[in-house]
Structure formats: structure tokens, C-alpha cells
């Protein structure tokens, strides 16, 4: 007892101390909260918010109460400027308790509309029972419609059973009735439900109120009352949405009746009610959902079948397979789609058959399902189907293997590249292209070198996917040996792989005696994976001896790299484009380089474009490049972007470009 008294004394002392500290802090802040310079109020507002937050931390009940008292006193003090009082009451909204009710009630009944509304909000959140008394008293004398709605809702959110009679009186009011119905629903005692019934559940808001009431009763475990209300709502609901809601809550309130309710809904014609029924069934049946509902399947209409097919689990596979023969095309497709999710090996033949039916619209659905059908057994059946049987089924299986990226099938895919049937060969290459990587580079390169042109795309894709690119280059260079013709056949994958060794080999080919080989090598440099090819391309472009077509190819390749290799610093790419311009031989090539300059946002490219804005032959392309550049540059270098845009503006009368210029200049 002594300890308790000592604790009390200490607490009281602490509270007094808190109150004094807080009173001083709040008093000091008040002038700033009402500063004539509105913008200057922010800091004080944040400081008061911080004090309120600190004082309402868990375990600081005495401090919170002490601050609550201080704030309440200031809020009620008419000598405190209004803007400060508003901010003070906003803090009380989130930390005020019983100690603040009296003061806030004064504001609730005052003449200042803003403070009145703040007070209503604060009382709505205040856990003290007296807050409800104040709100009720205010509603009794309220006349303004908006104000009444606010008070009605505050009482509803508080679940204030004492206000039921008062709220019931509002139900027939055209403006306030809906709010009253929802408020009564949130209160959810027998009197509030009675009041709602008296107002007819056919009225939408009353029905919604009753649904809220059932939900609250269910949350409280009062299923008996919930069931009675839910049954009545279901019997009288007018709209589809309310019927759905009534079914949903009734199924929960009355689990014994739920199966029949769900069954009736699913065999009915209302899609919304069916949707709610299925959601209710998921809750009711849990893991038994499929076994309970699958037997209903034959009795359902197309819409319900489609919804159900999307929810059943693997135990329904036989019914889903049967549904792939449904007379309704949309059901058939939904069933195929469902097999892609829940099917097993048994479903694969069905899907393969559907994937070969060109005339039926389910083909693409079946193909997609084959890509996703789960399980190793299904995967094995697809793989086996690729090896034998009708060609069209084999093609479907090969396409599925590719789509699934079923790498276990990679070794066998090579067998099918020599199949007698051209469609099978084509599908095998296509599947290889989908998933080949490091290990397939050598065999694919060998196919390419033996003249199998279809292998080239797969080899390029494998190169793209390769993890160990230097090793892949080594493999290709070893295959080529010293034979330039063989090397020339591997240019595209080398360009994709990149690296010093590949680059050296390709550069060497640009000097090959055969002109076509030279051209192919220059093209390969132009499609290089990184900026490393820029130097040899620039050398070619700068060489006075370069043949015209190779000169152009080199510039084209260089501009592609400048535009696309965004991992390279813009400064470096700008330098490349500027140097390239110096080697442009005619206006056509200059236009090409202008497009590159316009794609690299840097002040150097901006400066490089400007001289061409006054060149009659190049003005159009220079303006296009200039405005594109300015639009990109404005994000990082506003001054240079605007200077360029201004120069473009002076150089063109094109309305479209002028509009773009204005947008840049307005940034």
C-alpha cells in the first residue's frame, strides 16, 4: 500500500511537472501558430505535433493526460487566436482523452464553423463515453443538413447505442437518411436493427446498413441475431449487389443453410450473386471447396461454369477435362485455361489436341496452358509427345517445350533438327532459340557451319543468353580456325558475345580480300554488343580509302552504338558522334550523324548541332535533332537545353517543332 501511495504521489508530481512544462511550451508556440505570415506557421505546427506525439507514446499515460488538459484549456480559451486553436484541436483528435471532452464540447457548440467541425472530429475519436453525450446533444439541436450528417456519422462510428432513437428519427429525411442508416448499421444492436427494418430494407442504404449490422454481429459472435437479419435482407433485397451481400453474410451466419444458398445462387442467372456465392463457398469449404462444388458443374450456366473453373483445384481435373468438350466455346476455353493451372499428365493429350485445332479459337489458350501446366509428370509427357506420333502433335509439343523453356529437353531437340518433317525441324529450331545457352553454342555453331541456316537465329539467341561469353567466343574461334570464310559465318554471334578476341577477329575480316566478307564484318561491328567497336568503325569512317558503301556502313554502325549503348558515358558518346561528323562525306551522311548527335544529351552535342541549323540543306534534320536533344537535355542541363531550343526556334517555322520548343522553354 505504501508503495502504491508512493507511486501515486510520484505520478501526481510527474503530471504536475509535465503540465507546467507543456503549458509553457504550448504558450510559447501559440503566437507562431497564428503568425500573420501564414507560411511561417509550419514549423510551430510541426513542433506541437511532435510534442503531442512524444507525450502519447506507450507508457506515458500521465504525460498524455497532462498535455491533453493543457491543449484542451488552450482550445477553449477565446483569447488564443483561432488558427492556433484549430491546430491544437487537431492534435486532440489523435491524443485527447476524457480530460479534453468538456473543452472540445464548448467548441462543438460554438459559433466558429471551422472549430466546430474540428471539435466534432475530435469527439468522434475520443474514447471517453462523455464524447457521445456531447455529440448526441449537438445532434438534437442541429438544423443544418451537412452538420447533421457529420454528427450522425460520428455517433455511428462510435457505435453509440444511446443514440439509436435519435438516429432513427433521421431515417426518413431525404438528405440525412442514408447516413443514419449506415450509422444504425454500425451500432448493430436490436434497437438499431429494428429501426432499420421499420424503414424498409428495400431502400438501398437501409439494406447496406443491415449488411453492416450483420457483419458487426458476426464479428461479435452473435450468429443467431446475424442470421435472422441476413435472412430478412436476402428475402427483400432489391438490387443484385444487395442480394450478393445478403447471400454472403447469410452463408456465414447460417453455415447449415449455406450449401443450398450457394447452390441456388450458382444455378441462378445473376453473375454478381454467383461471384459472391463462390467467395462465400471458399470461406465455408476451405480446402474442400472443389469436392463440394464440382458435382454442381453440369447444372451450371456458362457464366457460373467459367467462374468455377477458375477456382477449382487439381482434384477436379476429370470434370475440367470433360468441360473442354462443352458446347459453349467460352466454357471450353475456360476449361483449357484451367488445365494450364491444375492439370497433370492426363491433361497433356487434351491440350495438345486442342493446340493443333487451327479452326477452333481455343488453340492459343491450349498453347498457353501447355506452357504452364505444372508437374514433372506433365513435363515428361510433353517431352515424349515431341518424339513420336502425328507431326502436328509433335510440333505442338515442341512449341510447348520451347514456351516452357524446358531445358531437360535440350539434348533431344537436336535430334529433331534433322527430322524428316520440315514443320518438326522448324519447331525444334524454334524451341532451341527459346532456351539454348552456353552448352548449345558449339553444336548450334556446327549446324550453322554445315549450312543449316535455321540454326543461325538459335545460335544468336544462345550467344545472347551465354553466361561465360569469353568461353563462348573461344569456342567459336576454335571452330573457325584460320579459315576466314568459316569465321565470316559466325559474325553475328561474335557481335553479340563481344570481347577483345572477338573484336580482333572481326576487325581482321574487315581487311579480308573478299569485298562481301569485308561488308559483313563492318555490319557486324555496327551491331556490336558494346561501345568497343566504335574505334574500328571510326577508323573506317575516317579512312579516305574506305569504299563508299563501307564508309556509310561504318557511320551507320557508329550511330547505332552512339544512340543505343547507354551504359557508356554521354560525354564519350558525344565525342564519337562529333568526330564522326568530321568524316561525313556528303549531306546524306551528315543527316545520319545529326540523328546521332540529337540522341546524346550533352552540351557538346548541343554545340555541334547549332551550326547546321542555318545550313539550308541540313536545317530540317538539324532542327529535328536539336529539339529532341533539347527535350532530353532539359532534365539535366536546363541552360544549354534552352539555348539550343531558342536556336531551333529561330531556325524553323515548323509548328510542331515550335510547340515542342515552347514546352522546353517553359520548363
Amino acid at each position: 500500500m505504501k508503495r502504491f501511495l508512493a507511486f501515486l504521489a510520484l505520478s501526481s508530481f510527474a503530471a504536475v511537472s509535465f503540465a507546467a512544462d507543456h503549458n509553457q511550451a504550448v504558450t510559447d508556440l501559440i503566437p507562431k501558430l497564428a503568425d500573420a505570415d501564414v507560411a511561417a506557421r509550419s514549423d510551430a505546427q510541426m513542433q506541437l505535433q511532435q510534442i503531442a506525439s512524444e507525450s502519447s507514446k506507450p507508457g506515458h499515460a500521465a504525460e498524455r493526460e497532462a498535455l491533453g488538459k493543457v491543449l484542451a484549456a488552450k482550445a477553449a480559451d477565446s483569447t488564443v487566436p483561432q488558427p492556433a486553436r484549430v491546430w491544437i484541436v487537431r492534435q486532440l483528435e489523435y491524443m485527447g482523452g476524457a480530460e479534453a471532452v468538456s473543452a472540445i464540447t464548448q467548441l462543438l457548440n460554438g459559433n466558429d464553423a471551422e472549430l466546430r467541425e474540428c471539435a466534432r472530429r475530435a469527439l468522434e475519436k475520443n474514447s471517453a463515453p462523455a464524447a457521445s453525450d456531447s455529440l448526441r446533444a449537438a445532434l438534437e439541436k442541429a438544423t443544418d443538413t451537412a452538420w447533421r450528417i457529420g454528427l450522425v456519422n460520428a455517433l455511428g462510428w462510435r457505435g453509440d447505442t444511446a443514440s439509436v432513437g435519435l438516429l432513427a428519427k433521421q431515417l426518413d429525411d431525404a438528405a440525412v437518411g442514408s447516413a443514419a442508416a449506415l450509422a444504425l448499421g454500425r451500432i448493430a444492436d436490436s434497437a438499431s436493427v429494428q429501426a432499420l427494418w421499420a424503414a424498409s430494407p428495400r431502400r438501398a442504404s437501409v439494406g447496406d446498413g443491415l449488411v453492416l449490422a450483420v457483419n458487426k454481429l458476426l464479428a461479435q459472435g452473435n450468429t443467431t441475431a446475424a442470421k435472422v437479419i441476413a435472412q430478412k435482407v436476402q428475402g427483400e433485397a432489391g438490387s443484385s449487389a444487395l442480394k450478393a451481400a445478403a447471400l454472403s453474410v447469410l452463408a456465414k451466419a447460417d453455415p447449415a443453410a449455406a450449401p443450398q444458398l450457394i447452390s441456388d445462387a450458382l444455378t441462378g442467372a445473376d453473375a454478381k450473386v454467383q461471384q459472391a456465392a463462390l467467395a462465400a463457398a471458399v470461406s465455408l469449404y476451405g480446402k474442400d471447396f472443389t469436392s463440394k462444388l464440382a458435382p454442381l458443374f453440369p447444372k451450371l450456366g456458362a457464366g457460373a461454369k467459367i467462374q468455377l473453373l477458375a477456382l477449382v483445384d487439381a482434384s477436379a481435373e476429370p470434370q475440367v477435362i470433360a468441360a473442354t468438350a462443352d458446347a459453349d466455346e467460352s466454357v471450353r476455353r475456360a476449361a483449357l485455361e484451367s488445365l494450364g493451372r491444375i492439370g497433370s499428365a492426363a491433361s497433356v493429350p487434351v491440350l495438345l489436341a486442342a493446340a493443333t485445332e487451327d479452326a477452333k479459337p481455343g488453340k492459343s489458350t491450349a498453347e498457353a496452358a501447355l506452357r504452364t501446366i505444372p508437374g514433372n509428370a506433365a513435363a515428361a509427357v510433353i517431352e515424349a509427345a515431341a518424339s513420336q506420333g502425328e507431326a502436328k502433335l509433335r510440333v505442338a509439343a515442341l512449341n510447348a517445350l520451347g514456351g516452357r523453356k524446358q531445358t531437360s529437353a535440350l539434348p533431344t531437340l537436336f535430334h529433331y533438327t534433322t527430322d524428316a518433317d520440315s514443320a518438326v525441324r522448324k519447331a525444334a529450331y524454334s524451341a532451341l532459340r527459346s532456351m539454348a545457352a552456353d552448352a548449345e553454342i558449339e553444336p548450334l555453331a556446327k549446324l550453322v557451319l554445315t549450312g543449316k541456316a535455321e540454326a543461325a537465329a538459335a545460335l544468336e539467341a544462345a550467344a545472347q543468353r551465354a553466361n561465360d561469353k569469353p568461353a563462348a567466343v573461344k569456342t567459336l574461334l576454335a571452330l573457325a580456325g584460320s579459315d576466314d570464310k568459316t569465321l565470316a559465318a559466325l559474325l553475328e554471334p561474335l557481335a553479340v558475345l563481344g570481347g577483345d578476341d572477338a573484336l580482333a577477329a572481326v576487325v581482321k575480316l574487315t581487311k579480308n580480300a573478299d569485298a562481301d566478307t569485308q561488308d559483313e564484318a563492318v555490319r557486324a561491328l555496327g551491331s556490336w554488343t558494346d561501345i568497343a567497336a566504335a574505334r574500328p568503325l571510326l577508323d573506317l569512317a575516317s579512312s579516305p580509302d574506305a569504299k563508299p558503301n563501307q564508309h556509310l556502313l561504318a557511320l551507320q554502325g557508329l550511330m547505332r552504338l552512339v544512340k543505343s549503348v547507354e551504359t557508356e558515358p554521354t560525354s564519350r558518346r558525344a565525342d564519337l558522334a562529333i568526330t564522326a561528323m568530321k568524316s561525313a562525306r556528303d549531306d546524306g551522311e551528315k543527316k545520319l550523324v545529326l540523328s546521332g548527335l540529337g540522341a546524346v544529351p550533352h552540351r557538346k552535342t548541343a554545340d555541334a548541332i547549332k551550326p547546321f541549323l542555318t545550313d539550308a540543306a541540313l536545317k530540317k534534320e538539324a532542327c529535328a535533332a536539336g529539339i529532341s536533344l533539347a527535350e532530353a537535355l532539359v532534365r539535366t542541363d536546363r541552360n544549354n537545353a534552352k539555348a539550343l531550343a531558342t536556336a531551333v526556334k529561330d531556325a524553323t517555322t515548323d509548328q510542331g517543332i515550335q510547340r515542342r520548343v515552347e514546352r522546353v522553354l517553359s520548363r
Partner: protein
């Protein structure tokens, strides 16, 4: 509030159901809006600011949708939108003429129309829940922009309403419909980077909210309705401006600032990747609390999400696991460690996530089939909950413990008051 088991069961079924929705359309003829002209889905567009442009263009380009109404509190905006809709439909007709789109100031006028089957809600955050709930109770389907709500309680109400009223609600977290994000999530979900322990997400910062002087309310702008359920403040253009760099998004009254803006996207993806769509983190620690360098939330298994950690390797989100990493961004950018993971095919028994290649199309297809869409209300609610709890912790400057099953803040009664906010009269309905 419904039981956790119920929601979890439903979500899991719904997610599985949708796992293959990248498939072509399946449409029974019975499911089109029966009252809409030519059996199209009658559509209302509500909130005609920056974000609506793309949605409006998409809906006008569809032959299974008829935009019948537009709604905004800016008179000029709604009139321009009405004309734009009618012009688009006129251009599609041989006669070159069309009238039939109404413009409203009050969303209630849209929601009460029987010929409207669905609404697109692209208002500021504080109007999302009131409009969506009213629409669902009136039998409409809803596409609502992210974050789905202003408060956590609104989210529970929206999710329960959608489920009980048989509504199709989709949240505009469109990153779920981007291939790279799906692939990233599948890699993480299926354990290809091992147990995930750290995730970095880049949200950026807004300027602090400011106290603003009063300006005259522009002619034709219903400012009181724009404020709607939020506290009254004098009008100032900076408060109401739609601006991705700030505007109303800076103010706590209208959202959870960056947490509600980019957080609604990236936290959503993290939830998806971790398989937490029916749950959420257990702890929220604000930046600055006892030296915490980055705003953090922590899942029960220990996975930590750090906001704005700079070491994201140039990406929006970086997942770090015991065996590797996945980095992902918009623009189909996906990088992995090891690099080979990027092309890692899923094994036959791996989880395949719901595949959607177009977010709005996915919603329209969902309306037709009544099947789950890629981002239904429960998912939107769980993601928005993270946004809001991060915001509450930031405001209160203290950590919060969260029970995602009971949806309660643990041991902090005052923080719990922030689970909902009182609404300004008369805009108190939800």
C-alpha cells in the same frame, strides 16, 4: 471485419484462379452490362486529372466499353472530357456525330445511374474509398488508382465490400502487369536467390508540406468537394495541384506522401515477391529513430525493406537473398546475380504468378468473366496498409508493431487512432 482464414483462403484461390489470365479473353455473352448501349460495359470516369488521360484513352479505344459519364470538381475539366469523349465516339461513326456522355460535378450522380456498370476512380487518394464503396454498393465494378485508400480501416471496408457485394475491384498498381516485375517476383518467390533478407526500394522524397496563404477559389472549381472528407484549409493552388513532383501529394491530409505514392507501387511488388499478399510486415521503423538511417519495415521471417537505400544498382527495387540478387525497374529492366538467373526458366513445380500483360484490359476482362483480376481489393488493401503504417510511424517518429492477421497496431493506443481518420461533414459516408 472478416476472419483472417477466410480472406487468406479466398485470396489464395483467387490468385490461383488468375494464374493464367494472360490467356485470351473468355467471355460468356451473359456477362456484359445489360443496360449499356450495344451490350458494352457502361463506364463512368471519375477524377479527370493527370492520371486519367491514359485510362480515358484506353477505354475510348475499346469496342466493349462505352464511356457514358465523366465527373470532376473542375467544371472546365469535365466539360473538356465530355467533349473529348463525344468527339472520339463521333469519329468512330459514319455520321461523324455523337452525343451521349454526361458531365457531373458530383460522383453520386454517376453512381446512381443504372446504365453505368463500372467506374474508374482516379481522384486524389482521400476520395478513393468513399467513391469506390458507394459504387460497389450500387452494383458497379471499380478500377481505383493506387494507393487504394487513405486509411487502413477504409481498406478493410473496401475489401469486404468488394467480396460481399460481388464487385470486381482492381487497384491501379500496374507494375504487376509488367513482365519484368512478374519475372522478378517469380524468381524471388521460387527461392532462386535463396532466403531473402534485405530489400531496397527507391521512393524518393517530396518537399515537406507547407502552410499556405489563402487565394481566391477559381471560378468553376468546387473546392469544398475537392477537400471532401479531409479537414478544411483555405484554398491555395499548391494544395490542390495535380503534380507528380508534389502538389497535393505532399500533404498528409490527402495521402501518405511518398510512401503512398511510389510505396504503393514498390511495396506492392515486394509483397507479391514474398508471397505476402494476404498479410504484411510486423514492424515499421521510421528514418531517424535511434539512428535508423533508412525507413524500414520488417517481415516476421526477418526480411527487411529499406526505403531509399542508395545501393540499388540503378534499379527501383533490389532483392538481396542468401544465394543471389534480383534488381528490377520499370521499362522491363531486370538484372540478376548471377546473371544467368535473368533467363532462368521456371521448373515444372514452381509457383507461376498471375500473368497480366495489360492492367486495364485485365480489369475489363475480369468484369466480363467475374474472375479475379491481378490486383483485387484485398491485395490493394494490404499494400496500402504498409504505405499508411510507414507514414504513421514517420509522423509519430516512433516504431510500430503490427499484427497483420488481426490488423492491429500492438501496444500503442494513440498510434491506433491513425488506423482511420474522421471525415469532414458532410462527406462522411463510407
Amino acid at each position: 471485419m472478416t476472419t483472417h482464414t477466410t480472406r487468406r483462403q479466398f485470396l489464395k484461390s483467387a490468385a490461383l484462379a488468375g494464374a493464367a489470365l494472360g490467356f485470351p479473353t473468355i467471355v460468356p455473352s451473359s456477362v456484359f452490362g445489360q443496360n449499356a448501349p450495344n451490350s458494352r460495359i457502361g463506364m463512368g470516369l471519375i477524377g479527370l486529372g493527370l492520371m486519367m488521360g491514359g485510362h480515358q484513352g484506353h477505354m475510348l479505344g475499346r469496342d466493349d466499353v462505352q464511356v457514358l459519364a465523366v465527373c470532376d470538381v473542375h467544371r472546365n475539366r469535365r466539360e473538356n472530357a465530355r467533349q473529348s469523349v463525344e468527339r472520339a465516339y463521333a469519329n468512330q461513326r459514319a455520321t461523324g456525330a455523337y452525343k451521349g456522355c454526361e458531365a457531373y460535378n458530383e460522383f453520386e450522380r454517376v453512381v446512381e445511374r443504372k446504365d453505368i456498370d463500372a467506374v474508374v476512380v482516379v481522384t486524389p487518394d482521400h476520395w478513393h474509398a468513399p467513391i469506390s464503396v458507394a459504387a460497389m454498393r450500387s452494383g458497379k465494378d471499380v478500377y481505383v488508382q493506387k494507393p487504394m485508400t487513405l486509411t487502413i480501416r477504409e481498406g478493410r471496408i473496401m475489401s469486404d465490400t468488394a467480396r460481399q457485394y460481388g464487385a470486381i475491384l482492381q487497384v491501379g498498381s500496374q507494375q504487376r502487369s509488367e513482365r519484368a516485375f512478374r519475372k522478378a517476383c517469380e524468381l524471388v518467390r521460387n527461392g532462386y536467390i535463396g532466403k531473402v533478407h534485405t530489400i531496397y526500394a527507391g521512393l524518393g522524397e517530396f518537399a515537406p508540406p507547407r502552410t499556405l496563404p489563402e487565394q481566391p477559389i477559381p471560378e468553376g472549381f468546387d473546392y469544398d468537394r475537392w477537400l471532401g472528407p479531409t479537414p478544411w484549409y483555405p484554398y491555395n493552388e499548391a494544395r490542390v495541384k495535380g503534380d507528380y513532383g508534389g502538389g497535393w501529394r505532399c500533404f498528409w491530409d490527402y495521402g501518405s506522401r511518398k510512401n503512398g505514392d511510389w510505396g504503393a507501387h514498390h511495396f506492392d511488388i515486394i509483397q507479391w515477391a514474398l508471397g505476402m499478399d494476404d498479410s504484411g510486415p510486423a514492424e515499421f521503423i521510421p528514418k531517424g529513430y535511434e539512428g535508423t538511417e533508412y525507413q524500414t519495415h520488417i517481415y516476421r521471417d526477418g526480411a527487411k525493406v529499406l526505403r531509399d537505400h542508395p545501393d540499388r544498382k540503378g534499379h527501383m527495387i533490389r532483392f538481396i537473398g542468401e544465394k543471389g540478387e534480383v534488381c528490377v525497374s520499370r521499362g522491363d529492366r531486370l538484372d540478376t546475380t548471377p546473371v544467368s538467373l535473368k533467363d532462368q526458366p521456371l521448373a515444372p513445380n514452381d509457383v507461376r504468378l498471375y500473368a497480366s500483360n495489360h492492367h486495364e484490359d485485365n480489369w475489363v476482362q475480369s468484369i466480363k468473366t467475374r474472375k479475379a483480376n491481378i490486383c483485387p481489393a484485398e491485395i490493394g488493401h494490404r499494400t496500402a496498409t504498409i504505405c499508411h503504417l510507414s507514414g504513421i510511424a514517420e509522423r509519430l517518429k516512433r516504431p510500430l508493431k503490427w499484427d497483420p492477421a488481426k490488423e492491429e497496431i500492438l501496444g500503442d493506443a494513440e498510434a491506433s487512432r491513425w488506423l482511420d481518420r474522421p471525415r469532414r461533414a458532410p462527406y462522411t459516408y463510407i
